[in-house]
Amino acid sequence: MIDSSLKEIAAALRAKTVSAVELATDSLARIDAGNATINAFITVDRDGALAAARAADARLAAGSAGPLTGIPMAHKDVFCTEGVLTTCGSKMLSNFVSPYDAHVVTLLKAAGAVMVGKTNMDEFAMGSSNENSHFGPVRNPWNTDCVPGGSSGGSAAAVAARMVPMATGTDTGGSIRQPAALCGITGIKPTYGTVSRYGMIAYASSLDQGGAFARTAEDCALMLSAMSGHDPRDSTSLERDAEDYTRDLAQPLAGLRIGLPTEFFAEGMSDDVRAAVEAALAEYRKLGAVTVEVSLPNARLAIPAYYVIAPAEASSNLSRFDGVRYGHRAAEYGDLNDMYCKSRAQGFGAEVKLRILTGTYVLSHGYYDAYYIKAQKLRRLIAQDFAAAFEKCDVIAGPTSPTVAFGIGEKSSDPVQMYLSDIYTIAVNLAGLPGLAHPAGFGAGGLPVGLQLIGNYFGEARLLGVAHQFQQSTDWHARKPAV
C-alpha cells in the first residue's frame, strides 16, 4: 500500500481496507528492513507514529479526515519537531530535542499525516551528496555505492526505497530537485516565500525554501497544498492564501511553450543525461507542447553568486550556535571566548566550517560591497534573464544535474567540484522561482535521470500539472529500485 498513490491510499483508508495504524506499522517495518543499508533516517519515532496513526483512524471513523489523514511521512531533520530529536545532520544539535514544532510540521500534523521519523541530510543542509552528515552518508537505493544527492538525501532515498510515500525537504541551491533526480522520484521547491521557514533551521535565509518529495507530481501537489500558506512568524512569508495545487493537473499540454535555455544544453551535461532529457522533451512534444529556445546569459554566474550569498547568510545564521542556550558545549574550556571557539570547532563538520569562514570573510570590513552586494546585483541580473525568458515560454525545461548519481567519496575531497554539480539548480533559488524535478529515464549504470521544470513566480500548480500529464503517458515514476 505504501507504493500506491496518495489518492489510492486515502481511498483505501476510507473504504477501511487498511487502517492508519497498519500503514504506519508497514512503513516502520520497511524502515527497519532497509535503514541499516540506506541510512535514510536519523530518528525513527515509533511511539509517536503509532499514536498519530490511532488519532488518524479516529478522525477517519468520525468522518473528519482530510486527503493526507493517516498517510505515513517523514520530515527532513532540518524541521523542528516538538519532543523529537532535531539534529540538522550535525553533532552541534545531536542532543537537541526541539521544544516547538516548525510551521510545516504543525500544518502536516493538523492534516493528519503520520510522521514516522526524521531523515538524514547534509549538515545544516550544506551539501550536494549527503556525505556531510554527522550521522554518516545516505546511500542511493538504486546503487548503494552511490550518493542520493543532497542536501535532502535522506528524504529522497526514503521515498525512492518506498519506506514512506511522501517526505518534506528544503531547497537552498537544489537540495530538493537534485536528490529527487538522483533517486528517481518527484520533488518540488515552490516560489520563495510560499512555505513558512518558521522552525526550519536556517542556512541561507534569502534562499531557503521548504518543499515536497513524493513518487509523482500528483502526490507532490496534494502534499504542497497542505504545507503552504502565509505564516506571520516568518517575516519573508508571502501574504497569499493557501492554494489548491492540484487544480491544473488535468490541463492538457497542447500549445504549452517549453523554453530550453541554450546555456543548459551547452557542454557540461553528460551524454546519458542528455539522451534522457532529449527523449523526455520528445515525449512532451508528442503530448502537444512546443519547445522554444531561450537564453539565460547570466546563469553561469549563479554558482559564484550563490557561494557568496549562501555562506554570508550562513555565517550570520550559525553564529547562534555558541554552546550557551542549546546544542553542543565543549567539555573543557578556559574563558568565554575559548568556550565559543572550542564548542563550535567540535560541533561543526568540515564543510560547515568552510562555509562559515567564507561567509565571515565576504562580510568582513572592507569586503562587503565587493562580495555580498556584488553577488546581490548578479542575483538581479539572473532574475531579469528569467523574466525575459518567460516572455517567450510558459515553463523552462532542462537537466537537473549534469550527471546521474556519482560514487560515494568521488567528489568529497574537492568542494569546488561538488559545488559545480548544482549548476542547473542554483539560479532558480537566486531568482526565487519554483522548480520541480521528475523522473525522465535512466542513464549510466541504470541510475535515474531527472528532468527539471522551472516555472514563473507562483506557477507551481501549472508545473505540477505539466509533470502530471507527462506521468500519465510515461512510467519512469513507477520504476522502483530493487533494494
Binding site: V324, K374, P415, V416
Partner: protein, 95 residues
C-alpha cells in the same frame, strides 16, 4: 586572490572557530579554491544594477505591540548545557 595563513587565522578568530594547527593549511587550500570560483563574478559589469535581496521586494511587516508568547523558560532551559536558578551559566566574564 589568495588568502595567507594569517588571514585564515584571523577569519577563524572572527568566526569563533578554533582551527587546529594541522587543519590550517588544508582549510587555506580549500578556501582559495572557493575564492577562485567566486572571483569569476568580478568580471561582470554591474554598474547601475540594484542589489536584490528578496524576489518579491517585500517590505518588513509590523505587528501590534502586545504579548503573544507564553512563558516557556523551563522548557527552553531544559535543553541548555548549563543553567542555574533560571539563568544560563557561562564562564566568568567580569572579574
Amino acid at each position: 586572490m589568495s588568502l595567507s595563513l594569517d588571514e585564515v587565522r584571523h577569519i577563524a578568530k572572527l568566526a569563533r572557530l578554533e582551527l587546529a594547527g594541522g587543519e590550517l593549511e588544508a582549510t587555506q587550500a580549500k578556501l582559495n579554491g572557493i575564492f577562485g570560483l567566486i572571483e569569476e563574478m568580478q568580471a561582470v559589469n554591474t554598474d547601475g544594477v540594484e542589489p536584490m535581496s528578496h524576489p518579491q521586494e517585500l517590505a518588513q511587516r509590523l505587528r501590534a505591540d502586545k504579548v503573544s508568547e507564553t512563558d516557556r523558560r523551563a522548557a527552553f532551559q531544559a535543553i541548555a548545557p548549563q543553567t542555574e536558578a533560571g539563568l544560563y551559566l557561562v564562564p566568568q566574564v567580569i572579574e
